[in-house]
C-alpha cells in the first residue's frame, strides 16, 4: 500500500516537473522569438535568421515563427529558403493573407517561372476549394460530426425511435456527413503524408538523367523552384516538375517543405 502511494506521488511529481520544464522552454522560445523580431526590425537580417533557426530547432511548430523566418531569409537574399518557410507556414495556416502575399511575391521574383500545369479555371477553383480547410479543421469537424452521430444514435436508441421519419433522416444525414468528413480527412492526410515537395535552395541545380554526377544534364532549375520528390537514392533525389520533366538532383541542393 505504501509502495503504491509512493509510486503515485513520484508520478505526480514527475508530471509537475515535466510541465514546469515545458513551460520554461516555451517561455524561453517566446523570448527568443521577440529577440529575433528585434534583430529583424533593426535590419540585422542574418542575425535574425540565425535566431529564428535556433527557435525552430527547439521543435516549435508555429506559422508565425515560420513566416518571420521566411522574411528573414528573404531579406538575407535566400529566396529558396524563404519559399520553404513560407510554404511550411502556409501549410499550417493556409488562409493567412500575409503568408500568401509573401509567398506569391517570393515566387514572383525568383529566376524560374513557377512551373504550372495548364489547368482549367474550373479545376483550379475546385482544387482551391478542396484545399480550403486545414487538416486541423477537418479533424475537428470529423470529431464533432462523430459526436453528433453518436448523440443522435443514442437518443434514437433510448427513445425507441426506429419508426420516426425525422429521426431516421437525421441519423442518415449524420452518418453521411461523418463518412464524408472522414473520407475527406483521410484523403488530405494521405496527400500530406505521401507527397514530398521540395524547393531548390541553391542558385542553380542540375537535374541529371541518373543519380551520378557523370550523367547527362537534363535541365537546370534555379533557386526557389518547387519540385516534387519522387524517389531518393543515396544523396540524390529524383525530382519532377509539374510539366512532367524529371531528373536527379543532389539532395543537398533542395530542402523538403
Amino acid at each position: 500500500m505504501i509502495r503504491t502511494r509512493v509510486l503515485i506521488w513520484v508520478c505526480v511529481a514527475g508530471i509537475c516537473v515535466a510541465s514546469v520544464g515545458v513551460a520554461v522552454a516555451r517561455s524561453a522560445a517566446v523570448s527568443a522569438f521577440a529577440e529575433a523580431n528585434v534583430l529583424y526590425r533593426a535590419g540585422d537580417y542574418d542575425a535574425a535568421r540565425a535566431a529564428y533557426l535556433e527557435i525552430t530547432e527547439m521543435g516549435l511548430i508555429d506559422y508565425r515563427l515560420f513566416y518571420n523566418f521566411g522574411n528573414a531569409c528573404f531579406k538575407s537574399n535566400r529566396i529558396g529558403e524563404a519559399i520553404v518557410w513560407y510554404e511550411r507556414a502556409q501549410r499550417l495556416k493556409p488562409r493567412d493573407e500575409d503568408v500568401r502575399a509573401n509567398l506569391r511575391f517570393a515566387r514572383h521574383i525568383k529566376k524560374d517561372r513557377q512551373p504550372s500545369v495548364d489547368d482549367k479555371a474550373v479545376w483550379r477553383g475546385l482544387s482551391r476549394l478542396y484545399m480550403y480547410p486545414t487538416e486541423d479543421e477537418l479533424c475537428v469537424a470529423f470529431l464533432l460530426l462523430s459526436l453528433i452521430l453518436f448523440g443522435v444514435a443514442v437518443w434514437r436508441l433510448r427513445h425507441d425511435l426506429d419508426t420516426g421519419r425525422t429521426w431516421r433522416r437525421l441519423f442518415r444525414l449524420s452518418c453521411a456527413l461523418t463518412v464524408v468528413a472522414g473520407v475527406y480527412l483521410g484523403a488530405r492526410i494521405y496527400q500530406l503524408e505521401s507527397a514530398i515537395d521540395a524547393v531548390i535552395t541553391v542558385e542553380q541545380a542540375k537535374a541529371r538523367s541518373g543519380p551520378d554526377p557523370e550523367q547527362t544534364v537534363n535541365f537546370i532549375v534555379h533557386e526557389g523552384t518547387t519540385v516534387h520528390v519522387e524517389r531518393l537514392e543515396g544523396d540524390w533525389s529524383l525530382v519532377r516538375l509539374p510539366s512532367g520533366l524529371g531528373g536527379w538532383v543532389s539532395s543537398a541542393d533542395l530542402t523538403e517543405i
Binding site: 517566446v30 522569438f33 518571420n68 528573414a72 528573404f74 500575409d98 509573401n102 433510448r158
Partner: protein, 600 residues
C-alpha cells in the same frame, strides 16, 4: 566580203540595237473615263481607270490621281487576262465612285502611273455638277431622289447665348428601302463645344407625313452644342451614303422605287445658321463662373456634432441642365472656426436624348479648431438662365456644427492637404508578425494520439451503450432472465439482513433471513416460486447447478436449511458462534452455487 555586204551587216546590227529593246517592252495603255459628265450634287459619278497591256505585267503600281473635289469610295479592282499565241494580254480596271463635294465644274485631275520605267498619264476630265432639286412645301411630289430621300437638320434654338445648350437633330427622311447606310461627312461644329446625345447604329424609322406624303423618318444623330463665342455661327451639313437596292420590277405603293437596279447615293443635309448672343453684362453677379442653363445647389455637412479637431465633411452639389463642365466651382471663403482643405471634385455626367446635364460635387474637409457652436455660412451659386434671360443666384441655408472638447495638439499633421488617388510606387514582402505570448509546439491535430483515442472512444461507447440497452430491454421483457441476473444480488442483500440480525442477537430473524436467502437464490436461478420449494427440491436444484460431484455442498445446504427450520419453528436458543458459523456457511454455499451456475 564586199563593201556592200559589210555595210548591210552593220545596218542589221544597228537595227537590232535600236529596235529589239523597244520590241521587248510591252505595249501599255492607260486611260480614264467617267459614266457621265453631268450630274446632280447628290448623285455619284463612276470613274474607271484602265491599264491594258499586251503582256502580263508582274507588278502594277497604284495610280496617282487628284480627287480632292469629291468624296471617294473604292476603287474596285477587276483584272482580265487573254491568251493569244502563247502570250498573255492583261487589262486592269480600277473603278472609283465619286460624290461631288460642291456644285459647279469640278475637275478630275490627270492620273499618272509608272510602268516599266515609263510614266503614263490620262487626260483630266471636267464634270459639271448641278444642284439637286428639293421639293418645297406645296410643290407636287416628283420621282426625283432628292424629293424622296433627304436629311432634315433642325436646331431647337435659332438664337442662343454664349454657353447655352442648342440641341441639333439630324433626321434621315426616306421613302425607299435603304441599304448600307453610313455616315460620310460629320460636321466639325467649329465655334461650339460639342456633346453627342444620340448616334444611331441602325435605322429606327417612324412614320411621319412631310408635305402630303408619308415618310420614314429615322433620327441619325443628336448633338448638344454650346457656343463658345458670339456671332453668326454656321453648323456644317451632315452627309450619309446609302444604296437603294435593285427591285427587278416596278411596284406601286408607299415604297415605290423608280429604279430597277441598285444605286449608290450620297445624301447631304443643309447647313444651319445660329445667331449667338453675348451674355449680358448688366446684372452679372460677382461670383458668376460661366454657368448657363438651370441649376440647383444642395449643401450638407456630416457629422453635425464632433470633438475639436475631428473632420467634418461638407458636400456642395450643383445639379442642373447645361454644360456643367464649365460651371466653375462654387466659392467658399474662409470659415470662422474651421480649418479647411482643398476640395475633392466628383462630376456626374447625365446624357440623354433630351439634353445634356449633370452634377458636380465638391467635398471639403473642415476641421473645427475651437469648441462651441460654429456656423458654416450659406453657399451661393450664380448662373445665367437663358429662358428668363436673367442671372439667377441659388443659395443654401447656413449649417451649425456643434464642436466640443479640447484643442488637439499638432492636429495639422494628421491629414493631408489634398486628396489624391493612392498609387503603388514599389513592392516588397509584408512585415513580420508581432511578438507573441505563446508559440505552438503540438504540431498538427491528426498526428496527436489523443485525437485518435477520442475518435476511437466514440464507436466503442456506442457499442457499450447498445449492449447495455439490450440488457435492460431483456431484463424488462424476460422475467426468468431478470431473476437469474438478480439472484446473486438478492441473496447477498438477504445475507446482509441476516448479518444485521446476527449483530442484534435476533436468532429467529437471523435464521429466517438465511433460509430466505438460500431458497430465494435457488428459486430465482430456476425461475420457480421460493415459497413452494421443499428441501429436497432445493437439494435437487443445487445438485443440478453444481453437478454430481458437489454432494458435500448439497448436504451442507440441506443441513443448513434444516437448522434454519429448526431454529425458526422450535425457537431454540443459538449462540453467537453457531449463528456466525451458519452465516459463513450460507455465504460459502451461495458463492459455490453461483460459481457452479456460471461454469455451467
Amino acid at each position: 566580203m564586199t563593201g556592200r555586204a559589210a555595210l548591210g551587216g552593220w545596218c542589221l546590227v544597228w537595227l537590232g540595237v535600236l529596235v529589239l529593246p523597244q520590241a521587248a517592252l510591252a505595249a501599255v495603255e492607260f486611260t480614264a473615263k467617267v459614266d457621265r459628265q453631268q450630274t446632280a450634287h447628290s448623285q455619284p459619278v463612276r470613274l474607271t481607270l484602265t491599264i491594258s497591256s499586251t503582256e502580263n505585267l508582274p507588278h502594277i503600281p497604284a495610280p496617282q490621281i487628284d480627287l480632292r473635289a469629291f468624296e471617294v469610295q473604292g476603287p474596285a479592282v477587276a483584272n482580265r487576262y487573254q491568251m493569244t499565241n502563247g502570250s498573255t494580254a492583261l487589262m486592269r480596271e480600277l473603278t472609283y465612285t465619286l460624290y461631288p463635294r460642291k456644285t459647279g465644274k469640278l475637275t478630275i485631275g490627270a492620273a499618272s502611273i509608272q510602268i516599266q520605267g515609263r510614266q503614263l498619264f490620262t487626260k483630266p476630265i471636267v464634270i459639271e455638277v448641278t444642284a439637286g432639286r428639293r421639293r418645297s412645301p406645296g410643290q407636287q411630289p416628283s420621282d426625283a431622289i432628292e424629293d424622296n430621300l433627304f436629311i432634315r437638320a433642325t436646331a431647337d434654338h435659332e438664337r442662343a447665348y454664349v454657353g447655352q445648350q442648342v440641341a441639333v437633330t439630324y433626321d434621315l427622311c426616306y421613302r425607299y428601302q435603304l441599304q448600307n447606310v453610313g455616315f460620310s461627312e460629320i460636321p466639325t461644329f467649329a465655334g461650339f463645344w460639342v456633346k453627342d446625345l444620340f448616334v444611331a447604329e441602325t435605322l429606327n424609322p417612324k412614320r411621319e407625313d412631310i408635305g402630303e406624303l408619308p415618310f420614314n423618318v429615322s433620327m441619325l444623330r443628336k448633338v448638344a452644342l454650346f457656343p463658345t463665342h458670339s456671332g453668326a455661327l454656321r453648323i456644317e451639313p451632315m452627309a450619309v451614303s446609302c444604296s437603294i437596292p435593285k427591285t427587278g420590277r416596278r411596284r406601286s405603293g408607299l415604297f415605290d422605287s423608280i429604279f430597277d437596279r441598285s444605286q449608290a447615293q450620297l445624301v447631304r443635309g443643309e447647313a444651319i445658321e445660329v445667331e449667338v448672343l453675348p451674355l449680358p453684362k448688366k446684372g452679372q453677379p460677382e461670383d458668376f463662373g460661366g454657368a448657363v442653363g438651370r441649376f440647383s445647389i444642395v449643401v450638407e455637412a456630416q457629422p453635425r456634432r464632433v470633438p475639436v479637431g475631428d473632420p467634418v465633411t461638407l458636400r456642395v452639389r450643383v445639379d442642373g441642365e447645361g454644360n456643367f463642365q464649365a460651371i466653375g466651382v462654387p466659392v467658399i471663403g474662409e470659415i470662422d472656426g474651421f480649418k479647411m482643405y482643398d476640395p475633392k471634385q466628383v462630376d456626374d455626367e447625365r446624357i440623354s436624348v433630351n439634353g445634356y446635364g449633370g452634377s458636380r460635387t465638391l467635398e471639403y474637409i473642415l476641421l473645427p479648431v475651437r469648441a462651441g457652436s460654429l456656423q458654416i455660412p450659406a453657399v451661393s451659386f450664380s448662373y445665367f438662365d437663358p429662358v428668363a434671360q436673367v442671372y439667377q443666384t441659388v443659395r443654401s441655408a447656413p449649417i451649425m456644427i456643434d464642436s466640443h472638447g479640447d484643442v488637439a495638439v499638432a492636429q495639422e499633421s494628421l491629414f493631408p492637404l489634398t486628396r489624391t488617388e493612392i498609387a503603388q510606387v514599389g513592392s516588397d514582402i509584408r512585415h513580420i508578425k508581432p511578438d507573441v505570448v505563446e508559440l505552438d509546439d503540438h504540431g498538427r491535430l491528426h498526428t496527436n494520439g489523443w485525437f485518435w483515442f477520442l475518435q476511437g472512444l466514440i464507436p466503442l461507447s456506442y457499442l457499450g451503450f447498445v449492449v447495455a440497452h439490450r440488457h435492460r430491454t431483456r431484463l424488462r421483457g424476460d422475467a426468468a432472465y431478470a431473476r437469474r441476473r438478480r439472484a446473486r444480488s438478492e441473496a447477498v442483500r438477504r445475507l446482509e439482513r441476516a448479518h444485521y440480525s446476527l449483530e442484534k442477537g435476533d436468532g429467529p430473524g437471523f435464521y429466517d433471513a438465511i433460509d430466505q436467502a438460500l431458497r430465494a437464490y435457488l428459486a430465482d436461478t430456476a425461475n420457480v416460486s421460493a415459497a413452494a420449494l421443499t428441501k429436497d427440491e432445493c437439494a435437487s436444484l443445487a445438485a443440478g447447478m453444481c453437478g454430481a460431484e458437489a454432494r458435500d455442498l448439497v448436504a451442507e445446504l440441506v443441513a443448513l436449511l434444516e437448522r434454519c427450520e429448526h431454529a425458526r419453528y422450535a425457537r431454540a436458543a443459538s449462540t453467537g458462534d453457531q449463528m456466525r458459523l451458519a452465516y459463513e456457511t450460507a455465504e460459502q454455499i451461495v458463492d459455490a452455487l453461483d460459481k457452479g451456475r456460471t461454469r455451467k
